[in-house]
Amino acid sequence: MSKLKVATVWLDGCSGCHMSFLDLDERLLELAEKIEIVYSPLVDRKDYPDEVDLALVEGAVASVDDEAKIRKIRAHTKFLIAMGDCAVTGNVPSMRNPIGPEAILDRAYKENATAQQQIPTLVVPRLLRTVRPIHEHVKVDLHLPGCPPSADTFYAVLSALLAGETPDVSALTRFGA
């Protein structure tokens, strides 16, 4: 049997969900027999593959770059999981929404900068007006709230999906868990 092609993606989040995923520890070896990580911040692959069976996406959609990425991911992924509160609700990154991106950029690059006070325009992607959860941009197949979802939650969800079952997410995790 061929292995399930899995991608993990890091948009506007803190990488805590990825850390929690790694907390699966020795259970990762068990999963590695059934899945293959084809794209991830954890592996050296630059472009999103054409065919991915399952994607775990951490982080909210905050910039034009995130927006382009999530569209590409959706187009090339069979089953998309919003991983963690940022992807599911916007969470901490969305706390800038009431005041807008200019205020945040001013605080970071001008008020709090001691030298070279300027807002970067090259290389870094332009911020969107509001930070939004993934499902406001593309269709999401499963929402996994939690900040971060625990390793046990990841294990239960992935085990269920690998067995062809639908996991009962609310029995495992919640917003802010």
């Binding site: 509160d85 609700t89 009431p98 709230p145 900040c147 997410v169 609310s170 919640r174 917003f175």
Partner: protein, 237 residues
Amino acid sequence: MSAATEIKTLIIDGKDVSARPEQTVLEVARENGIEIPTLCHLDGLTDVGACRLCLIEIKGQTKLQPACVTRVEEGMEVQSDSERLRKHRRTIIELLFAERNHICSVCVANGNCELQSLSQELGVTHVRLPYRNPELTVDASHERFTCDHNRCILCTRCVRVCAEIEGAHVWDVMGRGAGCRVITDLAQPWGESSCTRCGKCVQVCPTGALYEKGKVGIERPKHPEFLPYLNLMREAQ
């Protein structure tokens, strides 16, 4: 209690139950181990039917009714749980999340919040409505307590406990629709209001909207259960 207390009989979720005429469907359901979700209701306070989570189906009526303010009637047939009701309840929870800035992960009430735990019980894993992200204030002018309007769900428990139990009526509500918010006195800062510093509003607040300074989350669970005892002791006097 008079010897000839009238007893009403009704059916809730197929179960025959009996009640006193002044009782609400919610009271009778809970007496009989039938759990109906609520947010604005709190034992010991007057019910206002604000949150609509306790909506029930009554046979012969097309409109849904809030169980907390619906009196029992003889022969009434009540359904407290159905796919239709669950759908409405989930939507209400999602509307509450979308209306203000509830960031559970960094909220002082994380782990001790009725909105958060109800969302889990009702199977809300995401909010289908776009978040409104309003710009709201935090009133930290009081020496002991803070009011964070970002987390307020306008259940008015604080308003009722302050007026009905403490007898101070410092809290009230101003504005309409999306502009509605709880206020102290005539929208003065809490710290400059006629607040008696009793802290009852903080204990009954179901979310992280009202909290004690320096005490967060697991450190300081809220204790709204003092209310029925307080009422009982007063009645006994």
